[in-house]
């Protein structure tokens, strides 16, 4: 049995999607000439500004190219489904957004992405373009707290990209943008739960198997197995499981402000996300934490996977300002 999808040939899905995105959002995005996988913001990159390049595999839409635009990322390099982009489009992105103040590569911590972005950075260094790299590692389920650098980057990217993009837009120096990106990553915690798999367009087969009444706590956004598998629990219990782990690490005090993201992995509808949001609010209220802003919806998906993740960013004055800073992307706007 093949998963039903509204696609043409599976191997063309990414390129056809990109054509559709450029058709829908010509005022926001364009592709570098001859490099259709390098998507650049029409407004945003400018002389003297640090260029912010994000990217990763496809299948996570609106991540990553939905967050390209004025006030956020300047360009995104687009890979095959769940596969890092190769160095070529990464290099094309960096070149297109270079305003003479250096470029920051900011992306999730996956072996493939690291190798490809590093190769790109090495080649750009030969052309005297200064590139720094910050990896997002917000998935608390993916390694113990003392090995934070081994963790995956997941939905928390939205806040981390947002903070770094705002810093770029405010004309921070490359040093400062790098500092902000690292700090934003340190203060961002995500954990997810998956209920059902997704299928790659090329295979149309579920990418993992899961029991009829099971859930997988801590599953990654490519279907990488999580920390525990168990019987599906009520939404409040699931929310508590995810929050407990996040709050344990976050160490916030009453009065502290947080940004909240309740993210669908794909097919989990808003109704369920908002039911989780309700519980998050109850729990944060109990602790005296203040919800400064909240995002609920599809931000970092895994095609049609069912499940959701919760992200908290622990704000300070600077992060709060950066999160509130206006941005105007094809699939995301603030201010």
């Amino acid at each position: 049995m093949k998963t039903k999808k509204l696609i043409n040939a599976g191997e063309n899905a990414v390129d056809e999607m990109l054509e559709g995105i450029l058709s829908a959002h010509p005022d926001h995005l364009y592709a570098v000439d001859g490099m259709p996988r390098a998507i650049v913001a029409r407004h945003g990159p400018r002389q003297g500004k640090v260029g912010l390049v994000i990217g990763g595999g496809s299948g996570h839409e609106p991540s990553f190219l939905g967050f390209v635009g004025k006030g956020l990322a300047d360009a995104a390099a687009v890979g095959n489904v769940f596969a890092s982009p190769p160095p070529d489009p990464i290099i094309a992105c960096a070149t297109a957004v270079n305003g003479g103040a250096g470029v920051l590569f900011l992306y999730g911590n996956y072996a493939g992405d690291v190798m490809n972005f590093d190769m790109a950075a090495e080649m750009l260094a030969m052309d005297d373009l200064e590139v720094r790299t910050v990896l997002s590692t917000d998935d608390v389920a993916s390694a113990p707290a003392d090995q934070r650098e081994k963790r995956r980057g997941v939905a928390g990217n939205v806040f981390i990209f947002k903070a770094a993009g705002a810093a770029c837009d405010l004309m921070y120096s490359l040093d400062e943008v790098e500092r902000v990106a690292r700090f934003a990553n340190e203060r961002t915690y995500t954990m997810g739960v998956a209920l059902s798999p997704c299928s790659l367009p090329q295979t149309l087969k579920p990418n993992f198997a899961i029991g009829e009444s099971e859930m997988e706590i801590g599953m990654g956004i490519h279907g990488e197995p999580g920390v525990a598998r168990g019987e599906l629990a009520p939404a409040d219990a699931v929310t508590d499981t995810l929050l407990d782990k996040i709050l344990e690490e976050m160490k916030a005090s009453a009065g502290d402000r947080v940004a909240v993201l309740i993210n669908s992995l794909g097919s989990t509808p808003l109704m369920e996300l908002y039911i989780m949001m309700r519980r998050v609010k109850q729990r944060l209220d109990q602790m005296g934490l203040v919800i400064h802003t909240s995002l609920v919806g599809n931000y970092c998906t895994s095609l049609e996977m069912a499940g959701a993740s919760i992200t908290l960013m622990h704000l300070d004055h600077e992060l709060q300002r950066l999160i509130d800073h206006p941005c105007d992307c094809a699939m995301f706007r603030v201010g």
């Binding site: 095959n80 982009p85 072996a111 493939g112 490809n116 295979t203």
Partner: protein, 212 residues
């Protein structure tokens, strides 16, 4: 045996066919401990490499050009983890045999060893971390020692295949330390690393391609 550009072109063609055949199995292996796309990446990469390599004119190209072309086209088509790993492998192979119009048995083993070294340099994985290195590192060592014993190319490659197969098998008992499966702890025990499995397919095909 002298390996010339035409034989290398044939070799890449054979690898592409083998990966197309093994695509499903490799995706399934990756589905258990990774993201279910390793077969797609290998098929895509080697079909791009075989096509680009086949377009080279044997009259004006040397083995280094074949390896470099394979590296670039594989990388551009794939990205992912396999892209930089195999691109680096082929670039190193090309560098190892630079300037030679055709390759002796010893040159081939140099190239083979350079590939394994390239993979390890790019991925910074050590043997025992449940990656393709667990197939490539023992394979390269076995090929070199067979060659030092004076064995011909095909015998060296068969020794490599034997070592790669055992290495891949051994990944079943390993906890992963690199790549997507490195966060799974002992839940990966019992499952072969897909990159090690595809390395076996690749080395098998290389061995066969000179067995005539």
């Amino acid at each position: 045996m002298q390996v010339d550009v035409v034989r290398l072109q044939e070799m890449f063609g054979a690898i592409a066919q083998a990966m197309a055949r093994e695509k499903e199995r490799l995706c399934e292996l990756d589905g258990v401990i990774g993201d279910a796309d390793h077969g797609i990446a290998m098929e895509l990469g080697f079909s791009a490499a075989a096509k680009a390599v086949a377009a080279l004119d044997p009259a004006t190209s040397d083995p280094t050009a074949v390896f470099n072309t394979a590296a670039k086209s594989f990388l551009s088509a794939v990205g992912a983890s396999s892209g930089p790993l195999y691109a680096t492998a082929f670039m190193r192979a090309g560098a190892a045999v630079k300037g030679k119009p055709s390759l002796t048995d010893g040159d081939m083993i140099d190239a083979f060893e350079a590939m394994a070294k390239g993979i390890q340099d790019r991925g910074k994985a050590e043997p025992g971390e449940k990656t393709m290195v667990d197939a490539w590192a023992p394979a390269a060592a076995a090929a070199r020692s067979a060659q030092l014993e004076g064995k011909p190319l095909v015998a060296c490659l068969e020794a490599a295949l034997d070592a790669a197969t055992k290495g891949a098998e051994a990944t079943k008992d390993m906890i992963a330390a690199k790549g997507r499966s490195s966060r799974l702890g002992d839940r990966v025990i019992g499952h072969m690393d897909p990159g090690a499995a595809s390395a076996v397919v690749l080395i098998d095909t290389i061995a066969r391609s000179f067995d005539a």
